[in-house]
């Protein structure tokens, strides 16, 4: 393992856009002393490492996405976005520089740091150098004689095979010799005809079989026989045909055996037969490479990789090796690791080392058996060829966007060529032998060199410091937010009794929204604590309509609204109004339960800080490391709950109430014609509909409840002094309705209301005397009568009233008031009656479930009758 910090040396700086270079598209290639470099812009630079100067700059008609060098033929192939593949002959390139050297003064593209080096002219590339015009190409790789491309079709990725076009010969665009479609891809949104530039480019690479006969790719790798056969099948091994590996932005890793890809010209190959999906990484594939993890046996001179490595953008790493299990089976060993992401680029070096760059660091991991020296005692092909855990070692270089292992490898070490996000080209020499270099006598030349090294070291460190500082700031901020959230939670949870420091009051009102009257709930969030609610907090309001449960036991529907609370300081208030209904169908199922809670999104606050700072972050906005925090993680603090029942939902158009309610049940604003039409169509309209007919011709449903006057008086206390008990009762019932005050002001004891669906509901309160109950004489009582043409509304109102009375009785019982003596026998009689009736209800309901339609109608009739009987000696509360 590299134990010593690398020696970093800056070579040159290149123009980079504001915010740094984005990873994915820059490339750096090294051939001898020459470095070919593209930064993702239209320019390709040729840099001479020995002379330390820029020798040429080529300008292409579009962004350069990929470079590949065919060293044998001295040709550089360049993929230019929206344009196609260009081929530059390197001999010719040198010539053209000297030829065109005089005319170009256009050096704006380069900022050569080397003083004294003349600014190189920018050579526009001749369109004739385009060997494969195709605007949809996303990746390519070159083998000896063939060119493999990956193009994005409208719905699918297309792998195409061409006879290698070269610039010198007469290029034949029709030289396609094979094609196959890969899995479907999600088309990038863009204006028609102009596909948007993809965020992630697919990765294409070529794996060769071990035999030397097969054509080799310049950037591909040779795999040892067993792994090759396992991955690509016996056919490929027999044919000794290279295979093409594709890593797609959706995470798929698939392969095609090159020789099977050759198809007849007219027909693309059958994907089912040709394409094999090896794995799904579930994050964009950014790198495919191969390593030698096991030491070579003495008699093998050719080094073939025995481990395939695939890296995903978020750091998920797949390693595949061939191994023999105990029984001698050849079996793939597949292991997934998680390395720090997002991965900007990676490279495979010798000695089983994988270099990968994230925004904060350049790491090296060793895939040899746990990094431990190979144990010769272990039999060949034993289990556990891959380490169970990878430990990345930092090299303290940050924001490297592209990386390549230099061909000028020093003895025993590795030299990496890297381009940083700031556009600096550097070499990192890794000395793999930990022994310290022997001290040499200091000469003046040595000193100069030393100072240079120190300076570039400072440069790296300062770049790294700024990125780390950003990360620290972000983390501090997140911690502060978390602390605040902790305080709020503690305050809320500790104060179970008494007023809560943060409260939410829920009120209801009818209002007119979009030409329709809607019952709205207003939640008033009040922060009376000393903490402020910051980013990350949200108010969740759940509206649960449960009235269906009253009828048939079906579950009600729940809707949850989440409203971000943005900055609510101490003493601040925020009001949120939500519609409760009626919905599109005109129905409003009362009662509705509205519950409020505060929710704290951990992800929103902490997620950003956990993602490593990324100078190229603009390329991937709003991205968080997956799996660190689950999607829904957060803290939920319940605040309040309230049930909106029929008494709150009634409207009283006959009473003079605020203007919008005075308009009548379903009449929208203004236009009389609309009003007319509305009443015609509406469910509660006068002209049509069965309910209105029923209202006209059937007697209204009635229910009564009697409450002893004493009980009511005790409950009301002094608040309602000076008014009749009937009026006070009515006012008490409608206290949460806007009409409550009017009832009081006009001293009403009966009101005519309108239910949400438009039917009328009549509430009448009068004082009665109950005679036959108490031996001591008649009891003063208040009779509350509910009348409505709609049975459902009558029931809902009845239910609401009983709910209130129940609560009142419970409160009164707590205060210990004693009821008067009662004629117990009479009560028993009533009780027994009710018992039988209830039993009948039960059997009827059971029958209703099993019967067919015709007889169930009769049963339902009977059920209604029984219910009426149940109500008829009305409920009496004392």
């Amino acid at each position: 393992m590299a134990s010593r910090a690398p020696r970093v040396e800056y070579l040159a700086g290149f123009r980079c856009p504001l915010g740094g270079l984005a990873a994915g598209k820059p490339r750096v290639l090294c051939h001898g002393a020459e470095v070919f470099l593209s930064t993702g812009s239209e320019l390709v630079y040729v840099y001479d490492q020995e002379g330390r100067l820029l020798t040429a700059v080529y300008k292409f008609p579009g962004q350069v996405w990929h470079l590949e060098l065919l060293a044998l033929r001295k040709a550089l192939y360049v993929l230019c976005a929206q344009s196609g593949i260009y081929c530059l002959s390197l001999d010719q390139a040198g010539r053209s520089v000297s030829q065109d050297g005089g005319d170009g003064g256009d050096s704006q593209g380069t900022e050569d740091e080397q003083d004294g080096a003349p600014p190189s002219p920018v050579i526009p590339v001749d369109p004739g150098a385009c060997v494969l015009p195709d605007a949809t190409l996303c990746a390519f790789t070159i083998l000896d004689d063939v060119l493999v491309t990956l193009a994005q079709g409208p719905t699918q990725w297309k792998v195409q095979l061409f006879e290698r076009p070269s610039p010198g010969e007469d290029p034949r665009p029709g030289g396609q010799i094979g094609e196959v479609h890969l899995s479907s891809c999600t088309p990038t949104a863009g204006s028609p005809g102009e596909p948007a530039a993809p965020h992630f480019l697919p990765v294409l690479c070529c794996a060769s079989p071990p035999s030397s006969r097969a054509p080799r790719s310049s950037r591909g790798f040779a795999l040892e026989g067993a792994l090759f056969g396992l991955l690509f099948g016996a056919g490929a091994t027999l044919l000794e045909s290279p295979a093409i590996l594709c890593g797609l932005p959706d995470g798929q890793l698939c392969c095609v055996v090159l020789q099977t890809l050759v198809t007849s010209r007219s027909a693309p190959g059958d994907p089912k037969a040709l394409v094999k999906i090896l794995h799904h990484l579930e994050e964009p594939v950014v790198f495919i490479g191969a390593l030698r993890t096991e030491p070579l046996a003495e008699d093998v001179e050719d080094e073939h990789s025995d481990c395939l490595v695939v890296l995903g953008h978020h750091g998920r790493t797949l390693a595949i090796k061939a191994s023999w299990n105990e029984a001698g089976h050849l079996a793939p060993e597949l292991r997934e690791y998680r390395l720090p992401g997002p991965v900007l680029c990676a490279a495979c070096g010798g000695h089983s080392r994988l270099y990968l760059s994230s925004p904060s660091d350049l790491c090296v991991v060793d895939l040899a058996r746990g990094g431990s020296p190979w144990d010769p005692a272990q039999p060949d092909g034993a289990l556990g060829g891959l380490p169970s855990l990878l430990c990345p070692t930092s090299l303290s270089v940050c924001s490297v966007v592209t990386l390549s292992v230099s061909s000028r490898t020093p003895e025993g070490g590795t030299e990496l060529l890297a381009l940083s996000a700031k556009g600096r080209l550097m070499t990192c020499s890794l000395d793999l032998h930990p022994e310290t270099p022997c001290p040499t006598s200091v000469t003046s030349a040595n000193t100069g060199q030393k100072i240079k090294e120190l300076l570039s070291g400072i440069g790296t460190v300062s770049e790294r410091v700024s990125s780390l500082k950003k990360a620290v700031d972000q983390r501090n901020k997140a911690l502060m937010c978390l602390n605040e959230a902790m305080n709020v939670s503690c305050a809320l949870l500790s104060s179970r009794e008494g007023p809560r420091p943060i409260s939410c009051a829920i009120t209801t009102a009818w209002s007119c929204l979009q030409l329709q009257d809607v019952l709205t709930a207003t939640c008033l969030l009040e922060n009376s604590s000393s903490f402020s609610l910051d980013r990350g907090w949200a108010l969740c309001v759940q509206v649960l309509s449960s009235s269906r449960a009253l009828d048939l036991g079906s579950a009600g529907s729940a809707v949850t609204y989440t409203i971000p609370v943005d900055q609510l300081g101490p003493g601040g208030r925020r009001e949120v109004t939500l519609p409760l209904g009626p919905g599109e169908d005109g129905a409003l199922d009362l009662p509705v339960t509205v519950s409020c809670a505060l929710f704290y999104h951990l992800r929103e606050v902490v997620g950003g800080a956990l993602a490593p700072t990324d100078p190229a972050q603009d390329a991937w906005p709003d991205e968080c490391p997956p799996d660190v925090l689950p999607e829904q993680d957060g803290v939920c603090l319940p605040l309040s709950e309230c049930t909106v029942d029929m008494l709150q939902g009634l409207r009283f158009p006959s009473l003079s109430v605020p203007p919008m309610q005075a308009l009548g049940p379903l009449s929208p604003a203004g236009d009389p014609i609309h009003t007319f039409l509305g009443t015609c169509r509406g469910p509660g309209g006068q002209l049509a509909g069965p309910s209105s007919l029923r209202a006209k011709y059937l007697p209204p449903s009635v229910a009564t409840i009697k409450v002893s006057a004493e009980l009511l008086r005790a409950a009301f206390g002094d608040g309602h002094a000076g008014m009749s008990l009937g009026c006070a009762t009515l006012q008490w019932l409608l206290a949460e309705n806007a009409v409550g005050d009017i009832v009081r002001a006009q001293a009403l004891s009966s009101v005519q209301g309108v239910a949400p669906d438009g039917t009328e509901v009549h509430l009448i309160v009068h004082e009665v005397a109950v005679t036959d109950l108490c031996p001591a004489g008649p009891i003063q009582a208040v009779e509350i009568q509910v009348e409505s043409s709609s049975l459902a509304n009558m029931c809902r109102t009845h239910h609401a009233i009983i709910g209130r009375l129940q609560r009142m009785v419970v409160e009164q019982a707590a205060r210990g008031s004693s009821p008067p003596d009662l004629r117990l026998q009479y009560l028993h009689q009533i009780h027994a009656n009710h018992e039988t009736l209830l039993r009948e209800v039960q059997t009827l309901r059971d029958r209703l479930c099993t019967e067919d339609e015709a007889s169930s109608c009769a049963t339902a009739q009977r059920l209604l009758q029984v219910y009426r009987q149940l109500r008829s000696p009305s409920l009496l509360l004392l």
Binding site: P127, G128, C130, V131, P133, D145, V146, G153, P154, T155, E163, D170, P171, R172, P173, G174, G178, P192, G193, P210, R213, A214, P215, E224, G225, A226, F228, G229, L230, G233, A234, G235, T237, L238, L239, E240, S241, L258, Q259, T260, L261, V262, T263, S264, R265, S266, A267, P268, D270, A273, K276, W324, E326, A327, G328, H329, L330, A331, P379, G381
Partner: protein, 626 residues
């Protein structure tokens, strides 16, 4: 607007409309120049430039509010753009539909009726636009042209319902009732373009002719594949009689040949195939079809000859002709898939077909030569051309090797067969199972068995057979033993593991595995017999009868050995069983077996079974009489 100048042509254009029109005409001329250039990069670039120019022009036209006076030009530019784009990409893409839709919306925009129609699909949009356009006679020609392109798009994406509807609307009320697309296409008369209309790459009428041919061709092929032959015949006749480029005509004739062959008129089919061969430069499909025809007729010599010609025809890599920068018939045809009669595969596939047919029909020498050629084709990388293996739908690559070895043995070239087998094993050496260590075997017990593809065993079997032919009995027996060792260690569940691809698993069914075991056992038994070790032979034959009860050959070998050993009772019992079996119809079809195995089984078939049975019968009768 149109200024008349005395000098005519040299007048500078005066309005934007003229400028745009000029630009369109110039781009169309550029595309036409590109078309005449022949296949080259220059042509590609010129065409690409023209396409970009048209795109830009379209952008500037559509940047302004739609106006009736500009509409004809705008629609023509859309048509040119789509035509060029589709012909360059060799297919219609989804975004072209959006371009068409945009054009239609622009027409509606001039009529201020856009809002009401926005949410409708393309089909309803067309309906509405064509109704509106009756008010705009000047737009009509361009609109019909666009409709033609829409029809082409729907045809190529197989939206025939939409296509029918569109054509019904285009034809107006006269044949609204007709559902027949061919009839509809024939009755559609696109209005002639005015002489001063903007230039187009392809006019509506030629587009209609292309549509007509393409539809008839498509329809015919589809009916041919689904098996409704008479209808296919009439559709294909329709395609052949319409305006048809030569290459398409060859396809149509070939399809007609297939159709007639299936309908049982081989002579007529032959006539069409000859016409197809005379007609064009693509000889592959008609030759393949001819070989099928001769096979059906039982004329093996002619079949083999046409396959040889097919191989030769496919070896000539035809230089692709530059596709026209127009909507052509080929563009609208489905890509031939393996199910299509027009699919003739690659050279190596044809070569394999030839070789295997030679082997099946008993032309062993030819078969051996063809197999060797095929292997050379597949493995030789010195040639610049890559050849795909014949799979799928053919056998997997190892099986091609095995068949080659079998053919060589059949042809009496055992030494060559051994070389092939050794090559196969050496290339696969890294995938062969390692011999499990003894101490591990002891610990794990015998349940664990190494996976090995059946073809490795088959290789040993063939090697053994080669040795048999060379007279090296000892080597042969040792190869058969190796084969058996592997075969009996492999359990069926192992088939899912290992480097076998789906293709490899497909061709080794359980039946094949059984037969392979039986073949190896019989082969070894025969060698024991030859070396005089009858008891050992008996053991092997007994085992083979148990392993593969359906294999009668094993029983005959067993019977013979039993008789030789004079084990009369067992022999009699076996004979009775055999007699009973031979009375039943033979149904153990060997067609599902791999060709190499079938060939191998042919070598070990016992001679004169009937005489053996007869002899037995008489001898038994004799003993009964006694």
């Amino acid at each position: 607007m149109a200024h008349k100048t005395p000098l005519g042509s040299s007048a500078p254009p005066t309005s934007c409309l003229d400028l745009w029109r000029e630009k369109n005409d110039q781009l169309v001329r550029q595309a036409k120049v590109a078309q005449d250039l022949g296949l080259s990069l220059r042509r590609q670039q010129l065409a690409q430039d023209a396409l970009e120019g048209l795109r830009g022009l379209l952008h500037s036209l559509q940047g302004l509010p739609a106006a009736v006076s500009v509409l004809p030009l705008e629609l023509s530019v859309i048509c040119n753009f789509i035509t060029l784009r589709a012909s360059l990409a060799q297919g219609f893409t989804e975004d072209l539909a959006q371009d068409i839709q945009r054009g239609l919306e622009r027409v509606l925009e001039t009529q201020e009726q856009l809002e009401a129609r926005l949410e409708h699909g393309l089909r309803e949009l067309w309906d509405f636009v064509l109704h509106v356009s009756s008010l705009l006679p000047e737009v009509l020609p361009a609109l019909h042209h666009l409709a033609g392109l829409q029809a082409a798009l729907w045809l190529s994406t197989n939206h025939l319902g939409d296509l029918t509807f569109l054509l019904q609307t285009l034809n107006g009320s006269q044949c609204r009732a007709s559902e027949d697309l061919l009839l509809l296409l024939k009755t559609w008369r696109p209005p002639a373009e005015e002489s001063d209309a903007p230039l187009t790459l392809q006019d509506a009428r030629s587009l209609r002719d292309v549509l007509l041919t393409a539809f008839a061709h498509r329809q015919g092929l589809q009916e041919l594949i689904t098996g409704s032959l008479p209808r296919a015949l009439s559709s294909l006749h329709e395609a052949a009689s319409s305006l048809c480029p030569q290459t398409v005509l060859v396809q149509v004739y070939t399809a007609l040949g297939t159709c007639l062959r299936k309908m049982g008129s081989p002579q007529k089919a032959l006539l069409y195939l000859i016409a197809a061969l005379k007609g064009g430069s693509t000889w592959g499909p008609p030759l393949l079809e001819a070989s099928r025809l001769y096979r059906q007729l039982g004329n093996t010599a002619a079949e083999i000859e046409s396959l040889e010609l097919l191989v030769e025809a496919l070896s000539v890599s035809d230089i692709p002709e530059a596709p026209q920068l127009l909507i052509e018939v080929e563009l609208l045809l489905p890509r031939p898939d393996p199910a299509s009669p027009l699919h003739c595969g690659t050279q190596s596939q044809a070569k394999y077909l030839l070789a295997s047919r030679c082997l099946q029909t008993g032309r062993a020498e030819d078969a051996a030569e063809h197999y060797l050629d095929l292997l050379a084709l597949l493995l030789d990388v010195s040639e610049p051309k890559l050849s795909p293996p014949p799979c799928p739908p053919g056998p997997c690559v190892p099986e091609v090797f095995l068949e080659a070895a079998a053919a060589l043995i059949q042809a009496g070239r055992a030494q060559d067969a051994l070389t092939i087998c050794e090559e196969l094993l050496s290339r696969m050496s890294s995938l062969l199972p390692k011999r499990p260590r003894l101490w591990k075997d002891a610990r794990k017990g015998a349940r664990e068995s190494p996976h090995c593809s059946p073809w490795v065993s088959a290789t040993y079997l063939l090697q053994g057979q080669a040795w048999v032919q060379l007279g090296a009995r000892k080597e042969a027996i040792s190869e058969f033993s190796r084969c058996l060792e592997l075969l009996f260690r492999a359990t069926p569940k192992d088939k899912e593991q290992g480097p076998a691809s789906s293709c490899e698993q497909g061709c080794t069914s359980d039946v094949a595995l059984q037969q392979l075991r039986a073949a190896a056992l019989i082969s070894r038994g025969l060698e024991w017999v030859a070396s005089g070790q009858d008891t050992r032979a008996l053991q092997d034959f007994l085992l083979s009868v148990q392993v593969c009860p359906g294999n009668q050959d094993a029983s005959f070998h067993l019977l013979r050995t039993l008789r030789r050993l004079d084990r009369r009772d067992e022999a009699t019992a076996l004979w009775r069983r055999l007699e009973a079996q031979t009375e039943l119809p033979q149904e153990n079809a060997t067609w599902s077996l791999p060709l190499y195995l079938e060939t191998c089984l042919g070598w070990i078939r016992p001679p004169d079974c009937e005489t053996l049975l007869a002899e037995f019968r008489t001898s038994l009768l004799k003993t009964c009489d006694l």
